[in-house]
């Protein structure tokens, strides 16, 4: 929910001609406004709803008397375990992000630096892409069975592992682009200067890809934070993450629109903060190597 709103803030690259040339003046402006409305409209509606009483949402009352009661109930209400859900999400997102950065960075470095036979690197990259391309729902069934057998069903570990799997392709591809930007002589200079290969990686190469780590880390964290279908199927109510918890506000006999809206707004906060801090790295990361 947060991602589309936040990614729209990506600044236009400097080389892009002014809008009037691109869109033919007025028409381009109209399209831009429509797009912004389409993205921000629903978000604004939820934001407004989160300050309304349930009854005001049903009646469509406008203007309305704003209230913070929805937030209070979501965060501190006796029937709500939303803070617990936030903790679950934080643990899962942080751990899976840390893990995918370690695995993905080392894999990308290995693919970039060592002369693997073409079929190894192509095979590996192709294999990771598969996870990116097939619908997640296809994987959930096998994962459910596998984790039940392993005794990992309804654990955070299961969720962390699946999120690492899903995020790995993006991380590897992104980090590979960053490693490719580093001239090999810099690492060679470190080797001649007295580094062991691993030392050269740690002291010279790794510090140079920190922007890549930030970009990949933010993208992985936000994915994991927002991920819904896997979390819904592999965890019970106890370990539900934030998106699952939000969905649970819609029950069979009652939909708590107001609290759902408040929870949604709260759930966007980490993503918005991260995107605001890291968007310049993400833009650079995703367009790296596109132009010299």
């Amino acid at each position: 929910m947060a991602t589309p709103a936040a990614t729209l803030r990506i600044p236009r690259p400097a080389a892009t001609p002014p809008l009037s040339i691109v869109g033919g003046g007025r028409i381009g402006g109209v399209f831009l406004v429509l797009t912004v409305l389409a993205v921000l409209g629903p978000f604004a509606w939820i934001l407004v709803a989160s300050f309304k009483y349930q009854i005001a949402i049903y009646s469509g009352e406008w203007p309305f008397t704003p209230t913070l009661s929805n937030y209070a109930q979501v965060l501190f209400g006796r029937r709500s375990d939303f803070l617990g859900n936030v903790v679950n999400s934080l643990v899962v997102a942080s751990a899976s992000t840390a893990l995918v950065l370690v695995v993905g960075t080392l894999a990308a470095y290995s693919l970039h630096r060592f002369r693997w036979p073409a079929w190894v690197s192509a095979g590996f990259l192709g294999w990771t892409l598969v996870f990116h391309m097939i619908p997640v729902m296809t994987l959930i069934g096998p994962w459910y069975v596998a984790f039940r057998e392993l005794g990992l069903y309804d654990t955070r570990i299961a969720l962390i592992l699946t999120h690492v799997t899903i995020n790995l392709p993006m991380t590897v591809w992104l980090m590979r682009a960053f490693f490719r930007e580093i001239p090999p002589e810099i690492e060679e200079a470190a080797l001649v200067d007295g580094c062991r290969p691993l030392e050269a990686f740690r002291r010279v190469t790794l510090p140079l890809v920190v922007p890549g780590l930030i970009a990949a880390g933010i993208l992985a964290f936000i994915f994991s934070w927002n991920e819904f279908p896997i979390a819904l199927n592999l965890t019970s109510r106890e370990l539900a993450t934030v998106p699952v918890a939000i969905a649970l506000f819609a029950q069979q006999y009652e939909i708590q629109h107001a609290q759902m809206a408040a929870a949604s707004i709260i759930s966007t906060i980490p993503a918005v903060i991260l995107m605001a801090l890291g968007q310049r790295f993400i833009v650079r990361g995703l367009t790296l190597g596109a132009v010299k």
Partner: protein, 350 residues
């Protein structure tokens, strides 16, 4: 400092032989320049000495120690790269002290060594800057400083000046040479620029297609090229080359283009005769009729491009000699100034 011995070194990438039978001895304190056209293997040879490239056969010794199987860090060499390869995330001070810190030298010593080197290279004011805030010439100095501060056994330079503009390049050339005269550090310097090779080398090594063509002091190589390739590679403008059969002490390159030869050449053999522009005299009593095509005045000297019997000739003349395109002139080339090469490009004994 140390001497370097290279014996029968070869390099193959898969089945492609890129270098073979490389033998080279570098004396302690010597400044050796490897020179050749791009792709001749000079950088590969340098990287093999540094340990960045494995050797397929042969031996490399630095300071009497066989280093074939040693890692770059164990060879005690310092290298200056063409792209400088400074560490972008470290400032100048950290760049220069990088190797000393790896060696866990005490802070006071590092401070003293970096300070000393920085003042030698006029980098004092730049110590806290990152590489991206430096000009090309300053980066080049930092790369030099990073190498010097270590006091290695051997300096390796991989075309360190080729990214600088022409003026700075000439200045740095002199500076590196002056630095070498002060430090007496054994150095191997790679360049494709024959002027750099001529001006900087104690001895130069001319390489071509993965082989060494000739090793010698710059003027010896210039005056006595062992192969036609060396003759043509060294010297600017390039040496004149005429080819043709030799009969009765005369080489007939073309009708009207003949040279008197005073060497024993088997009768009827086809040879290449090479003579430098400064050995072509424009003189009314000369034996070769020619016509002026182009005149280039450089200031101290003038190059005249002529045509004799349909063959091109370049002559270096004094600026006082006034010539215009189309002028008919006569040329004289002293037989002693002519280098003769067989069809394989090897020098014929005089």
């Amino acid at each position: 400092m140390a001497s370097v011995r290279i014996r029968n070194v070869a390099k193959r990438f898969d089945s492609v032989v890129v270098m073979q039978d490389i033998d080279l001895d570098v004396a302690d304190g010597e400044f050796i320049v490897l020179v050749g056209a791009s792709g001749c293997g000079k950088s590969t040879l340098l990287r093999m000495i540094a340990g960045l490239e494995a050797i397929t056969a042969g031996d490399i010794e630095i300071g009497g120690r066989r280093v074939n199987d040693l890692e770059p860090r164990e060879r005690d060499v310092a290298m200056v790269f063409q792209s400088y390869a400074l560490y972008p995330h470290l400032d100048v001070r950290e760049n220069m002290s990088f190797s000393l810190r790896l060696r866990k030298r005490p802070d006071s010593e590092i401070e003293r060594m970096v300070g000393g080197t920085a003042s030698t290279l006029a980098l004092d004011a730049l110590l806290d800057r990152r590489p991206r805030a430096l000009s090309g010439g300053q980066r080049q100095r930092v790369a030099m400083g990073r190498a010097i501060v270590r006091h290695p056994q051997l300096f390796l330079f991989d075309e360190p000046l080729s990214n600088l503009d022409a003026k700075l390049r000439v200045a740095m050339r002199t500076e590196i040479r002056a630095l070498h005269q002060r430090l007496h550090a054994t150095s191997i310097y790679v360049t494709h620029d024959q002027v750099e090779a001529m001006t900087m080398a104690d001895r130069m090594v001319v390489m071509n297609a993965g082989r060494i063509e000739q090793i010698g002091r710059p003027l010896d190589v210039y005056d006595h090229p062992e192969t036609l390739y060396v003759a043509q590679f060294i010297g600017s403008p390039a040496i004149n080359v005429w080819r043709g059969p030799v009969e009765q002490g005369t080489l007939r390159a073309a009708p009207g283009a003949t040279l008197a030869i005073d060497a024993n050449v088997p009768p009827g053999a086809t040879v290449a005769a090479a003579f430098r522009p400064e050995h072509v005299e424009i003189d009314g009593t000369g034996t070769i009729a020619a016509r002026v095509d182009v005149v280039e005045t450089l200031g101290p000297e003038t190059y005249v491009y002529l045509e004799a019997g349909g063959l091109p000739v370049c002559a270096r003349v004094d600026r006082t000699q006034r010539l215009s395109p189309g002028d008919p002139v006569r040329l004289r080339i002293a037989p002693a100034a002519i280098h003769l090469f067989d069809q394989g490009g090897r020098r014929l004994a005089a």
